[in-house]
């Protein structure tokens, strides 16, 4: 019989997609050049040339039967080995291919983990603000999400709230740094404290509390003094959900991986549960063409100077106009405090000036808007007068 839960997930679609669809429709009405759409995190930079070159080479040189064949569900051995080598070398954290499952982006990896480590009645702690889809994945896995707010103005973790939220029902905790929607990077001291608390709680409750690190923006960091610690080195019961969507500007192709830390207790059993979860969702394998692409592109990056320029331009202007903005070290988002308590009202006022932002309620943290700056620098420049007028309309 039709599932009301699934129907509700389908009908109340992601607000970001809705605003983005409005932007497309509005562009058709008044011209794309007149709509300042900062709603969706769809990279505007072309993939590095090696992506096209490698894909064309594979298509023209490789036997098509082998190129497009089913791969093992976990991924091609050579690809998993290449990724394992990259992780081992880059993070000085030794892993083998046996810890790696090649996935259709980080979202798939997240859904697999939640279904693997959650049972009915379990709780998963989310640090707000967070990616809109986490609560959907958690609820579908039969668990309940528990929000823990950040501290302001630094957008780190409110540890009092975290300690209060932790319980013997806590199955997992999700970290996303650089953060979507805030662009903030969690400091090493924050993460050390988080891991220490988790270790103590694990001892107290006598079962694993998994740390799930969602890392689509790991390599999009714009300040040289900012580093993104590698969590498996800090806490044994860690999963890493990684995506190549942003690094390689191929978000529509769905390529990423799940790492089950080899330091995790019974990690092979946990890996089997993740593989089992993938199987129940009908995952057969990640695109074989894009798997073959990966070894040649592990160190490739889009031109990050463009995103850095956009960030500097927009952050500089918005703070100058009087907006309060979270310190944006990474990803391609600014998190701007709404000048009035209701972020939807602010969103509507910006929309009336053809500026499309995302009100933050669905990120579990009301009172802000997200500004995606993965757009043309020129468009940002042309949007500034509108932002300035908005600020003035609030008397900032």
């Amino acid at each position: 019989m039709l599932s009301d839960t699934m129907r509700s997930f389908g009908k109340n679609a992601c607000i970001i997609r809705e605003i983005s669809a409005y932007g497309a429709a509005r562009s058709a009405q008044i011209g794309a050049e007149n709509v300042f759409d900062f709603s969706i995190g769809n990279p505007n930079l072309p993939a590095p040339p090696a992506v096209r070159e490698t894909l064309v080479r594979l298509l023209t040189e490789m036997d098509p039967v082998a190129l497009h064949a089913y791969t093992p569900a976990v991924g091609l051995p050579a690809v998993r080995q290449a990724v394992a080598g990259y992780i081992t070398e880059t993070y000085d954290f030794p892993v083998t291919m046996d810890s790696l499952y090649i996935t259709e982006g980080a979202s798939t990896a997240l859904a697999m983990v939640f279904h693997a480590v959650c049972q009915e009645g379990d709780e998963v702690i989310l640090f707000a603000p967070y990616f809109t889809e986490y609560p959907v994945f958690v609820r579908a896995a039969g668990a309940k999400s528990v929000d823990v707010p950040c501290t302001e103005p630094d957008f780190q973790i409110d540890f009092n709230a975290f300690q209060a939220a932790l319980s013997d029902k806590t199955a997992a905790v999700v970290v996303n740094s650089p953060n979507n929607p805030s662009g903030v990077v969690l400091e090493e001291a924050t993460l050390r404290r988080l891991c220490a608390i988790l270790q103590e709680k694990e001892r107290e409750v006598g079962h694993p509390i998994y740390l799930i690190s969602d890392e689509p923006y790991r390599d999009l960091v714009y300040d040289e003094d900012v580093t993104v610690p590698y969590l498996p080195a800090y806490y044994d019961d860690t999963f890493v959900c990684y995506s190549y969507s942003k690094n390689l500007s191929i978000p529509g192709e769905r390529l990423g991986y799940l790492l089950v830390s080899p330091r995790m207790r019974d990690w092979q059993e946990v890996f089997a549960a993740c593989a089992g979860a993938a199987r129940t969702m009908g995952y057969i394998c990640t695109s074989s063409l894009f798997q073959h692409l990966l070894p040649a592109c592990l160190t490739e990056r889009v031109d990050l100077t463009v995103y850095r320029t956009n960030r500097d331009l927009l952050y500089g202007a918005l703070t100058e106009y009087g907006f309060t903005v979270a310190k944006p070290s990474g990803a391609f988002y600014l998190f701007v405090k709404s000048p009035e308590p209701d972020a939807f009202a602010f969103y509507e006022k910006a929309k009336s000036r053809e500026i499309l932002l995302v009100p933050s309620d669905d990120f579990g943290y009301p009172g802000y808007v997200r500004v995606s700056y993965c757009v043309d620098t020129d468009k940002i420049r042309r949007a500034l007068p509108g932002f300035k007028a908005l600020a003035e309309s609030y008397g900032l």
Copy 2:
């Protein structure tokens, strides 16, 4: 806490994949030319030239930002429109893009449907023999699968068993024709009778009983007098789960669609539930490159004469040697009765002659082996003496 169900799905992996892995290891030991691996349904024909040409053209001519961008979760409008046009024209069954969700193959579509239309305690009827993964999908959706055997020797539906299995708990019925593992096509008379029974039962129980048509092999039919009826034209509450894996020989790329029949009651609500299920599984979209490929390749096919030759050769030889084989009109499988009751014992004897078959127990129908003939014709020829010796060893 770790899910035992998921762990068990991960550890007890699909037997086909296991035998295929053995085949690869054995090939490394004694040479691929000496291993007659009929285990996996991995197409051995190259994709039609249009696949390579179109992919290279897209990569070299299209803006990479647009080419690799996120698409709507349901798929690109132009792609959905093209598929809707193809279905409308080919099956004389009018559909619009609103009924179509572009998926990562038929498996994803199946998983979506089961999660959308099943609730805890529901039952799903599977006609044995069936694809090994159906029971996994059904159980993950909280439902229970109920097996209904086929009739012999024609491998149609045992309607007495079907009537006995139908109940007010029946949420869905799965049909797969041409069938994996048997290669048998269900006759129109069989399907008419099935649909009539379902219609009557729907009226009796007062809720929809969905018919799920899993169609990865729809276009792989080798006899001119055999047709595959289009089920949405026969029964309103029908889903079609389609895959381009076999038609285009791109199984590793994951491309297919879900059709929610527009004749279904409340089809838009049902579609929303399928979309919601996709969301919970972390599906963001199907590979954007392969979506762009599709409109140019809707009528492309691999060279089916090769599969037909293989079928004729193998079916002719095996029946001549005395084996009992289901009439193989489509797909690329033969379903051969084990000369002894235990198909595993027969599998082992074949294996000792380097012939790899799949015992049928995991297809829900013991006592047979599946022979996948999507292999080189020459390899089939060279395997025949082994099959003959096997038959003789049983005194056939």
